[in-house]
């Protein structure tokens, strides 16, 4: 009798451990997001992928329709070649375009699919040519500064006060962007 009750306790102990590992895998880890549904692969080229990582979601209209399988650098075209695994349940026209987007201001990056108007759908191994790179904050700031400077140059002969004001504001802008990149 003694023996039997002891076995029950050991069995409960082992079961508890299995439950803990299951909890870690399903609730804390990403096992539940692994899908066994059939997928098809689509290859795309990006000029700049920013902070995109493998396993990042592919979304259309905000719904996850696939995941990034692999990211490699192509030294023929000097572009990033990104392989996507799209869910077979969802079909997209052949001329759909891909965009690298950011969820929230500082959130993770994902790929958005905007469907096109072609009659044929994307199939396994197809290449998507219409892509839009990730927005790099430094490029954005320098673009903004150039456009400001161009504005200042155009207005230079006219109202001096106004152009001074705008160049001052752009200077302060560049100052803050420098300090921002320094603290990273």
């Amino acid at each position: 009798m003694q023996r039997k009750s002891l076995d029950v306790w050991v069995g409960m102990f082992v079961l508890l451990g299995a439950a803990a590992i299951l909890f870690l895998a399903m609730k804390a880890g990403n096992l539940s997001s692994f899908s066994l549904t059939p997928t098809y692969q689509v290859i795309s080229k990006f000029d700049n992928i920013g902070g995109l990582k493998p396993q990042a979601p592919v979304k259309s209209a905000g719904v996850v329709v696939g995941r990034v399988a692999d990211i490699r650098f192509d030294d023929k075209t000097f572009q990033a070649s990104v392989v996507l695994n799209l869910d077979s349940a969802y079909q997209f026209p052949k001329d759909s375009s891909l965009k690298i987007l950011t969820s929230g201001l500082l959130g993770e990056q994902y790929i958005g699919i905007s469907p096109g108007g072609d009659v044929k759908n994307l199939a396994n191994g197809d290449k998507v040519t219409s892509t839009q790179s990730a927005i790099v904050l430094e490029d954005l700031i320098s673009q903004f500064l150039y456009s400001k400077a161009a504005d200042g140059g155009a207005n230079g002969s006219g109202g001096n006060n106004g152009s001074n004001g705008s160049s001052n504001s752009s200077n302060s802008g560049s100052g803050s962007s420098n300090s921002g990149s320094g603290s990273k």
Partner: protein, 258 residues
């Protein structure tokens, strides 16, 4: 001067001899372990003694470590306005580091010492010698089952520690402080990889189980058969096992998560 060099040489020689003897004992124990497959009862008994009795201290420690991680993590993350990442911080620190390491340290203190003392006293009472007289190999009958029980119990305990710790972080972070519940879990699931984080943590705890249990058994088996010798062996178990766990952890972390 000559004396100092001589004693240093003697110390190194003794250390090497101990290491060699321990290795020989380990290999013999492993080669005798196949006989245990016919008597799994012996291992079950030891799992009950080592695992079930350590359960409460492991679970309670895990809960409080989770509480503290929740509080401290919130304090730091709040400075950067990213307290939603609290779940990720708690889960990663527990599955990768704290779960296996703290469990191994507690395991050395809770189960390792009792193993050393038990075997040391068996030796002092000449029970091991009596077994040999009856043609029963104590390495197979006494050491083997305890070793495998420790190796099996350790990852289970570490997994329970991590799971309870995450629940503790959830209680403090979400219930008490008020971090958004959806963000807590979704950031955790987005950032914790099953293979890279959870499985490597389990692997770590298996290695720690091997190390701690074997050190405890070796110290007991090799203790001086006197009350003083057993007490010294018990102390050595805790010291050596804790240090081994910490440097092994560094080594494994460097290998796994480079």
């Amino acid at each position: 001067m000559i004396n100092a060099i001589g004693s240093l040489g003697f110390a190194v020689r003794t250390w090497l001899a101990n290491l060699g003897y321990a290795t020989r004992m380990f290999v013999r124990m492993l080669s005798l372990s196949f006989g245990l497959l016919r008597r799994p009862r012996l291992i079950t008994d030891q799992i009950h003694f080592i695992g079930n009795y350590s359960l409460v201290i492991i679970a309670v420690s895990g809960l409080f470590v989770g509480f503290v991680l929740g509080l401290q993590g919130y304090y730091t993350l709040n400075k950067y306005g990213s307290e939603q990442a609290l779940g990720l911080l708690v889960a990663l620190s527990l599955t990768r580091e704290l779960g296996p390491v703290v469990t191994a340290l507690l395991f050395a203190g809770r189960a390792g010492t009792s193993l050393t003392a038990e075997i040391g006293l068996m030796k002092a009472g000449e029970q091991l010698a009596a077994m040999e007289m009856m043609a029963v190999n104590p390495l197979q009958r006494v050491i083997g089952p305890r070793f495998w029980a420790g190796v099996i119990a350790m990852p289970i305990l570490a997994a329970i520690f991590s799971a309870v710790g995450i629940l503790g972080g959830y209680i403090v972070g979400v219930r008490l402080i008020g971090v958004d519940e959806g963000a807590f879990w979704s950031q955790m699931q987005g950032g914790v990889d099953v293979v890279k984080d959870v499985l490597n943590g389990v692997l770590k705890s298996v290695v720690f189980g091997f190390a701690v249990t074997f050190i405890a058994l070796y110290q007991g088996y090799e203790s001086q058969p006197t009350p003083e010798g057993v007490s010294r062996a018990t102390t050595r178990t805790v010291v050596i096992a804790s240090l081994t766990v910490l440097w092994l952890d560094f080594l494994l972390t460097a290998l796994m998560f480079n």
